[in-house]
């Protein structure tokens, strides 16, 4: 009878030689070492070996290449379940980088679209939903993310907001709630389930948060969160830090009414709380430019009774372009013709600073600030324009 092979050389106490699963992952274990050598030897001959990308920082959606074997997932009876599920086999049998919730990016290898037609960012993102951590070899079942959840992410440091799109799995099978289940008609609940990675963005989701899903933009359809189940962690731990709480979050949504501020173009639904300042970045062929403010920090969403000193800076990636002169143009929404804007708001400019002062509350809408870099001073040689809105009323 074959016995387990246990290296007792460095065993400090008897717990080190407990014959429990998981397997003894000691690299000196000659069986494992030889298994790795066998995998390495077989690796070049495996037919379904492909280069894919893995998310190299949790939640950041930046990807690095990795070579893996991709297999289809089969049920116990041997039938393929769905091509939305794949099994990724790693070459390193002790692969430790990936846990449930890890994301991979790969597109159609032999599919309808040729590789040259597919933009890298258009490729599908797949999320780990099952990982056998006690097998001798390392593999993970991933499910294709079939949608995105768009939300606003506010940088606490700058006060400026960006649009964030989180890959999400909307499960296709309806299980017990499907129409013909058990041959009797059960009414399908209109709830939507969404599965996302638990990360710094999805941890900010809140009950009643509103989302535009899928083709909802065309249909003008908005969903709101009914409940969030974010306790599915990849490890058993009470540590709730972002690093430790890697796993999956399950979100239940229901359909809700549309808001006049819903942004269908960008698929970002309005929230009933908060008033984020979104400034679009300008993409040129090789660089992207955005505006930031060295003052105030963070930028407030409202112009209150105290004047605000704005010092705009032009930023390209991580790099700050100094000495770029800005011009500021103000306008008020719904201001009747013939009424002068200067009765409500006033700007004083000294060097690169713009002191914006509210002279009287304005109820008709937001203050639009257009920051402009003239073509003569622009790094691209063309005029750059950034637009943002500030509230002007006492209540907003």
């Amino acid at each position: 009878m074959a016995r387990k092979v246990i290296n007792t050389t460095h065993a400090a106490n008897r717990y080190d030689i407990l014959s429990q699963t998981p397997e003894n992952y000691n690299r000196d274990n000659y069986f494992l070492r030889e298994l790795q050598e066998k995998v390495n030897a077989d690796w070049p001959y495996r037919p379904n070996r492909v280069d894919i990308e893995f998310e190299n920082a949790w939640g950041k959606q930046t990807y690095s290449p990795i070579e893996v074997v991709i297999q289809s997932v089969r049920s116990e009876k041997g039938t393929e379940i769905s091509d939305d599920y794949k099994k990724i086999v790693f070459r390193d049998i002790l692969e430790r980088r990936f846990v449930i919730g890890s994301r991979f990016r790969f597109g159609d290898f032999f599919g309808q679209r040729g590789v040259e037609d597919v933009n890298v960012t258009d490729r599908n993102i797949w999320m780990g939903i099952n990982m056998n951590t006690t097998n001798m070899t390392s593999a993970m079942v991933v499910e294709r993310c079939n949608g995105v959840l768009g939300s606003i992410y506010t940088d606490p440091e700058t006060g400026l907001s960006t649009r964030h799109y989180e890959p999400v799995i909307f499960p296709q099978t309806l299980n017990a709630s499907s129409l013909l289940y058990r041959n009797s008609i059960t009414q399908e609940d209109a709830d939507v389930v969404a599965i996302v990675q638990t990360n710094e963005f999805t941890r900010q989701y809140f009950v009643n948060q509103r989302f535009i899903l899928g083709y909802g933009a065309e249909r003008k359809q908005v969903y709101r969160i009914k409940s969030i189940h974010d306790f599915y962690s990849s490890i058993t731990s009470i540590d709730s830090s972002v690093e430790k709480s890697q796993g999956l979050t399950r979100i239940y949504l229901e359909i809700t009414e549309t808001d006049p501020r819903d942004d269908y173009e960008h698929k970002i639904a309005a929230q009933s709380v908060g008033s984020p300042i979104i400034v679009d970045t300008i993409d040129t062929e090789d660089k992207e430019y955005c505006i930031q403010f060295s003052s105030p920090k963070p930028v407030p969403a409202y112009l209150g009774s105290t004047p605000i000193t704005f010092i705009p800076i032009l930023v390209s990636g991580e790099e700050t372009l100094s000495d770029v002169p800005f011009e500021l143009n103000l306008s008020l929404a719904n201001l009747p013709a013939g009424v002068n804007l200067s009765q409500y708001v006033e700007v004083e400019q000294s060097n690169s600073a713009f002191i914006v002062k509210k002279k009287r509350a304005y109820l008709g809408g937001d203050l639009t600030m257009k920051w402009r870099v003239a073509a003569a001073h622009s790094p691209t040689g063309e005029q750059l324009e950034f637009e943002m809105q500030l509230g002007m009323g006492a209540y907003s």
Binding site: E257, D259, P260, R360, Y362, L363, A394
Partner: protein
């Protein structure tokens, strides 16, 4: 009381024009250019916080908001309707909006020739959009400004900064319709008190419109004294 035959009883309390009340009120609202009518239409058409700063809807735009109205305007699907002659419409709740509904509530016969007909106006507003900015300040619209006793330190002239959309709608519906004379029906009144069979039949406003989800609103009960005696069995088709 003498004994009557069917022919006689059948002549009493015929309410021959009761079936046109809602349409006549809606027609009135479409054509009315009073401040209150304008505000009602602004609130129905614009769900934004700055609704009162938007253009007053034209007659064509008003028509487009009425249930069933045929309009040449684009975007007049059922879900964009805001004015109904039924208690509530689930078509409208696709959007965060305000809706107005007219319908006949109860009828209390006083005697053989007179009845109190209660006309119900229901208004409902989505809770997300209830806050609207005040319609004016002394600079932009000095003619309609609502002065405010409270002194805002950052403001030269204190004005009402925000209002409850629902309260505003309530005020405007009452102001626009109370005392309105409808052909063949009578005066719509928000004041009638009648003792009928010991019951107090009174006009009232109650906040009873609530869909248990996102909308809330008021039910306004107007009373109309109606009669209608007819010996013509064909009347009131």
């Amino acid at each position: 009381m003498d004994y009557y035959e069917y022919d006689q009883y059948n002549n009493f309390n015929r309410f021959s024009n009761i079936d046109g009340i809602e349409a006549k009120i809606i027609e009135h609202l479409i054509h009315s250019k009073t401040k209150y009518a304008n505000t009602i239409w602004q609130l129905l058409k614009y769900p934004s916080k700055e609704a009162l700063w938007q253009e007053v809807p034209t007659e064509k735009e008003r028509m487009a908001l009425v249930e069933g109205a045929v309009s040449s305007l684009e975007e007049s699907e059922t879900k964009e309707k805001r004015l109904f002659c039924k208690p509530f419409s689930d078509d409208a709740i696709k959007d965060e909006c305000s809706v107005l509904c007219f319908y006949i509530g109860e009828i209390y016969p006083v005697d053989a020739t007179q009845s109190v007909v209660s006309l119900i106006a229901e208004i409902a507003t989505h809770n997300h959009i209830n806050l609207v900015s005040g319609e004016a300040d002394f600079v932009a619209h000095p003619e309609v400004t609502n002065p405010n006793d409270y002194y805002y330190t950052d403001n030269d002239v204190p004005v009402v900064q925000y209002k409850s959309r629902e309260s505003l709608l309530l005020k405007c519906v009452l102001a626009e319709l109370n005392g309105l004379f409808i052909d063949g029906v009578g005066y719509i009144q928000f004041n009638t008190h009648q003792q009928v069979d010991g019951r107090n039949v009174a006009s009232k406003v109650s906040m009873s419109v609530y869909d248990g989800r996102s909308f809330f609103g008021h039910k306004i009960q107007f009373n109309i004294l109606m009669s209608g005696i007819s010996e013509n069995p064909a009347i009131g088709r």
